[in-house]
């Protein structure tokens, strides 16, 4: 197996007296689709921002694409960032610019000096940007102002902007938290498709367990800045899922609602009991043991 694309070890981060991250360990292999699961304030965003060098750790190591991120600065940091796409919860498009120009800003790292206006980008880049817009299904909106688009469309533009970087890793920080359910589904599906097409490694933070279960290959649960869970999603049984809720979520109402939902779906999973049992054994996993030890 090749070296992991992301390696976080013993990462601490404190803002003043609050501990945002506390001894976080995370290893992600190339091509993995990982969900960071946790409530708001659990440290998901802070962890993601460390992976892109937007935050400096208080202590610990963050290796991304073979580079020790905290030791980078200036041009080398920008080069690393250009290899890592970042999708924000609030899209963060420049509202007064056209959709196309917003996508083009993803190419800035490869250009020297400032860019103003569409025509300051090379023709090849404009073509590439249009291609990415087409990929997210918004080619016909290329010359509209970004703020004339709906939330879901804006997030797709933001994804196109990240693609413009031709990234190897895509980080997404609560990409659908500001969207309605239908747009959420579209955007999440789009990220998966694109990841599959381009062989991207994806680390995406979410706070909804049900969404995470259906989407990611692997779930890493965070709570109060600590990793409390790290498991593959494939073939998880009801007991394990409930365990995830117990670890990650706190709201009982949410727990109950999901329990009901699961009761309905588990009937389908019941068909393959052998698999379930096997998984249940396997999932006396290290994370659980760790947590118990504490």
């Amino acid at each position: 197996m090749s070296t992991p694309i992301i390696q976080v070890a013993g990462l601490d981060k404190s803002f003043g007296r609050t501990m945002a991250l506390d001894g976080v360990e995370l290893t992600v292999d190339r091509g993995e689709i990982v969900v960071l699961l946790g409530l708001s304030g659990s440290g998901k965003s802070t962890l993601l921002r460390h992976l892109d060098g937007l935050e400096r750790p208080t202590s610990g190591s963050v290796r991304v694409l073979g580079e020790e991120v905290p030791s980078l600065s200036g041009r080398r940091l920008r080069r690393l960032r250009s290899r890592v796409g970042f999708v924000f919860q609030q899209f963060e498009l420049v509202p007064s610019l056209t959709v196309l120009e917003n996508v083009l800003t993803g190419a800035l790292a490869g250009l020297r000096g400032p860019r103003l206006g569409l025509w300051s980008y090379r023709r090849a880049q404009r073509l590439a940007a249009l291609g990415h817009l087409d990929r997210v299904g918004l080619l016909d909106r290329a010359y509209q102002r970004a703020d004339t688009l709906s939330g879901g469309q804006q997030q797709r533009v933001a994804i196109a902007r990240a693609l413009m970087q031709e990234p190897e890793i895509l980080l997404a920080d609560e990409p659908v938290a500001s969207l309605d359910p239908e747009s959420s589904e579209q955007v999440m599906a789009l990220i998966r498709e694109i990841a599959a097409d381009a062989g991207l490694t994806v680390v995406c933070s979410l706070h909804q367990v049900d969404l995470a279960l259906g989407w990611g290959d692997r779930i890493v649960g965070l709570r109060h800045g600590r990793v409390v869970l790290d498991t593959a999603t494939e073939g998880l049984g009801k007991a394990e899922v409930m365990e995830i809720y117990g670890r990650v979520a706190t709201a009982t109402s949410e727990l109950e609602a999901i329990e009901r939902e699961l009761a309905a779906t588990s009937a389908a999973t019941e068909a393959s009991p052998g698999l379930r049992d096997a998984d249940a054994d396997a999932d006396a996993d290290p994370a659980l043991a760790d947590e118990g030890a504490r």
Binding site: R81, L108, R123, Y143, R161
Partner: protein
């Protein structure tokens, strides 16, 4: 429970005695006394300047006699008038643009979210304070010594003095941006400069353009005063006319200037409205800039081939040919509008700079003269004047400023209250009051002052009335906005108790607005101090008269001491304002 029961009168009294008195802090008392003292001083100044009905009737007589003596008002020859107007507009435009260009890096340093560090921020702030503090007239005098001929002294005086305000407002705009897009550029690996141009600039550009247009209006009004110290244009011609006692021509030019200011104010506010209304000026300006830098769009076959090779392998529904087609941006209404704006703006700027006929070579040779000029301004001295004369003149200027502020305040409070949505009895009255304020703001008060002073022959009275009039436009709007910003809850509560409109105003709206009123009052004093100095230059008496005299007599050391005196007074009032803001928060 017992409190609700009806109680006997003596018992109530004893309850009142038990209620603890509010502890008045000494600082609050001192601040209150200072305000009382300031108001008393203003009343005294008002009496001393002798603004009375009798005085006004008297001045009417003066005006009649003046017009009998002058006869008809004459204007310059049409051709000359056009060239003078063009020169004035071009000079002000170039100076304002120069200030805008200088202001960009200064604002970048001074804004809290872009500054590289606290020391840089202090430097940025220092530049904004310093450039605002030195009067443009004094700058113009100094530059006139360095540049023998031409329009550069005026351009540089306007350009440097305006940096203070423009950079301050630019920095405010930067501090108000949404940090998200900037963060996105950083996350994509953009450099600091790219963060600025792609993440910040598009967000602040509309506000920046509005600021520059606003400053253009101010500078145009002020250019008439610059004429008194030799800056070419309508102002210079007017001062020449007055100096040679050709009053009919002087008044004619003043009227032209007056109309010009009003027209330009309307034009700039129309532009601001059109721009801030909807469409992206940001991209527009970018387009213009870029189209000049890069030549025409590349259309050769080879580029196309390269492009398709570079294009990503994965495309959705669209074929490379489709993408090529989309690459050509459609000429829709927005684009046509933007491009029209751009070329219009570019044409105006080029024409404005061209009409100034700048001696560019002077910019290279001037540096050798700087030491010699600096020596003339330092050390400060009073020359042939004594301290008593100067302090009396300064007192007169302060008196004019205070009296004008008091008059403005009284009228603004009335008009401003009616212009506030939550005070005005109905929409009609509110719109009427707002319209009145806009109308008053549109009148260039310096030119009004010149006209009044020349016509009535009464220096400080006429100037003070002009200042007070102009102040109503500014202060009335600020007061109206402040009243509209007070919390609505207390008003609703009083309405619910059955209070009358006036009672609600007095008990809920006004008390909440008091801190803002005090702040605005001090702001107006600050503005009026500068304006009162300027009045002296155009014949209104006070310290400005000595400033002009010293400049024309080449006693630049006296100029320095006068500027320092004015600065000290301004700092004192600035300090008072800061203190008041803290105490009456």
């Amino acid at each position: 429970m017992t409190a609700l029961a009806p109680a006997a009168a003596p018992k109530l009294e004893s309850i009142a005695a038990r209620a603890p008195r509010r502890r008045a802090s000494p600082e609050r008392i001192a601040a209150g006394l200072t305000i009382v003292a300031l108001v008393a001083a203003s009343v005294w100044a008002l009496v001393d300047i002798d603004v009375s009905i009798a005085g006004i009737v008297d001045s009417w007589g003066n005006a009649e006699r003046f017009f009998e003596r002058v006869g008809t008002i004459t204007f310059p020859e049409p051709a000359e008038l056009v060239s003078l107007t063009a020169l004035t507009l071009g000079l002000v435009l170039t100076g304002t643009l120069l200030a805008a260009v200088i202001s960009v890096p200064v604002a970048y340093l001074a804004a809290g979210n872009t500054t590289p560090g606290p020391a840089w921020r202090a430097i940025g702030r220092f530049i904004t304070v310093l450039t605002r503090a030195v009067p443009d007239i004094v700058l113009a005098m100094a530059f006139a010594l360095m540049f023998t001929l031409g329009s550069l002294p005026g351009i540089l005086a306007i350009g440097i003095h305006s940096v203070g305000m423009i950079a301050k407002l630019f920095a405010d705009a930067i501090e108000q941006i949404d940090e998200g897009p900037r963060l996105a550029v950083r996350a994509a690996g953009g450099s600091k400069l790219q963060e600025f141009t792609s993440g910040i600039l598009p967000q602040v550009l509309p506000s920046w353009i509005a600021t520059v247009l606003h400053r253009f209006d101010i500078n145009l009004r002020h250019s008439v005063v610059l004429g008194y110290v030799g800056v070419a244009g309508l102002g210079l011609e007017m001062s020449h006319a007055f100096k040679s006692l050709n009053y009919s021509l002087g008044i004619g030019i003043a009227i032209v200037m007056f109309v010009l200011c009003v027209v330009m104010e309307i034009v700039s506010s129309l532009i601001r409205r059109a721009m801030l209304g909807a469409q992206p000026t940001g991209r527009g300006l970018g387009d213009r800039f870029v189209r000049r830098v890069t030549s025409a769009r590349p259309r050769t076959r080879s580029t196309v081939a390269d492009a398709s090779a570079d294009a990503p392998a994965k495309v959705g529904a669209a074929s490379p040919a489709d993408l090529q087609a989309v690459l050509r941006r459609p000429w829709d209404g927005t684009r046509i509008r933007n491009v029209a704006w751009l070329w219009g703006a570019a044409a105006v700027i080029v024409a404005g700079v061209a009409v100034c006929d700048i001696h560019w070579a002077d910019l290279v040779t001037v540096w050798a003269k700087v030491p010699a000029v600096a020596v003339q301004f330092w050390p400060p001295s009073f020359g042939s004047y004594d301290w008593a004369t100067m302090s009396a003149a300064l007192t007169e200027t302060i008196a004019v400023a205070l009296a004008a502020t008091l008059l403005s305040f009284v009228f603004s409070l009335v008009i401003g209250s009616f212009a506030a949505r939550n005070v005005a009895p109905n929409g009609g009255i509110r719109s009427g009051a707002r319209l009145l304020l806009v109308g008053i703001r549109g009148v260039p008060e310096v030119i009004l002052a010149i006209l009044l002073i020349v016509i009535t022959g009464l220096g400080s009275q006429a100037g003070m009335i002009a200042l007070a009039f102009g102040g109503v436009g500014l202060l009335g709007k600020l007061i109206a906005d402040s009243f509209e910003e007070v919390a609505r809850g207390p008003e609703r509560a009083l309405v619910a108790t059955g209070a009358t409109r006036l009672q609600v105003y007095a008990s809920a709206t006004f008390p909440q607005g008091v801190p803002a009123l005090i702040g605005h009052g001090f702001y107006l004093i600050d503005t009026n101090l500068r304006a009162a100095t300027v009045l002296g230059i155009v014949g209104g008496g006070g310290i400005g008269y000595y400033l002009l005299n010293a400049g024309q007599g080449s006693n630049y050391d006296v100029v320095t001491s006068i500027v320092l005196m004015i600065l000290v007074v301004q700092l004192v009032f600035e300090g008072l304002a800061v203190w008041m803001r803290r105490v009456f928060r």
